[in-house]
Amino acid sequence: MRGLPAAILLLCAGVSLHAGADEQRARVNYMLNCQGCHLPDGDGTADRIPRLKNFVGYFLHSEDGRAFLINVSGVASSPLPDSELAELVNWTLLNFSKPQLPVPFQPYTAEEVAELRKNPELDPESRRKRILAELQKTAPQLAIPPVAE
């Protein structure tokens, strides 16, 4: 981002969201609420912060995984209202991990997010490993890379 004229910061990258979604708002919300840890390109850090880029989409291949993305505390305890949070999660999935998403991609709704965020996950590391191990077994065609320890 360094050195870019301010105008470029406002451009959309052409990520398609469902009707009513605001790409710019989602991008800003990502910066304010997620980027500090998950990093601008969604890379995370190998041992500490989960990677989103070309990875987070895998979770939508199981029901537990789909719930997990909203249960996880960084999402569940977000200061954002349900509709903006759904918009942000959908944008994140499409922007960072479109190739990994199931087809068709079923975006989260505000109602779904409202329900799921009532149950923040207390042991996210264990659950994440379980979900991915399960997917590696049940959906080997996804070729999910092993999770970094």
Binding site: M1, R2, G3, L4, P5, A6, A7, L9, L10, Q24, R25, R27, V28, M31, L32, N33, C34, Q35, G36, C37, L39, P40, T45, R48, I49, P79
Partner: protein, 182 residues
């Protein structure tokens, strides 16, 4: 002038003259206590407003962002929630680390209003790490800072969390976007 200015005007004039360690510590006390918003640490005071199109640049790059004020002063607009030493006073700049230090990618993010255009910008306060405290230009301001349980909005945390060394050297203030309320 708020009550802090009134109460410490005497002290600040004295502090600015003194070069003793005691004088430096009094500055530290005020800075740590959050009074920094009213006291630039360097003799280059608020009165020196400069228009600068290239204020955000390093190595000759122009960001196109319109800015005013002194990037080596605690009350520079980008530093509205900074907590630490200004990298510009340590051989770096407001958006670059000093030689040999490592910029943390993991950080906390705030928003500050730019007086040059009245818009609120998203500021990423990346720390530079791997060397001991720079010791110059200690600033602490806390606009929209929140307690440690709101980790991504907390400036009391040492953010050297993904660098080779956790030792904190100084803090930058990178403009990364525009906030929506602008």
């Amino acid at each position: 002038m708020n009550w802090v200015d009134r109460l410490f005007e005497q002290g600040v004039r004295g502090v600015a003259k003194r070069t003793s360690r005691r004088g430096a510590l009094e500055k530290i006390g005020m800075m740590l206590a959050g009074a920094a918003a009213t006291f630039p640490l360097l003799p280059v005071a608020r009165s020196e407003e400069q228009e600068s199109d290239a204020a955000a640049s390093n190595e000759g790059e122009e960001s196109g962002l319109k800015e005013t004020g002194d990037p080596l002063s605690c009350d520079y607009w980008r530093y509205c929630a900074i907590d630490g030493f200004l990298c510009g006073c340590c051989g770096g700049s407001h958006n670059a680390c000093p030689p040999g230090s490592q910029m943390s990618r993991v950080t906390w993010i705030g928003t500050c209003e730019n007086p040059a255009d009245g818009k609120s910008y998203i500021i990423s306060y990346n720390d530079c790490c791997g060397k001991s405290s720079c010791g110059n230009c200690l600033c602490q301001r806390n606009e929209r800072d929140r307690p440690v349980y709101r980790t991504f909005s907390a400036n009391d945390i040492n953010w050297c969390l993904d660098t080779d060394s956790a030792i904190y050297h100084c803090t930058t203030a990178r403009v990364i976007g525009i906030a929506l309320d602008s």
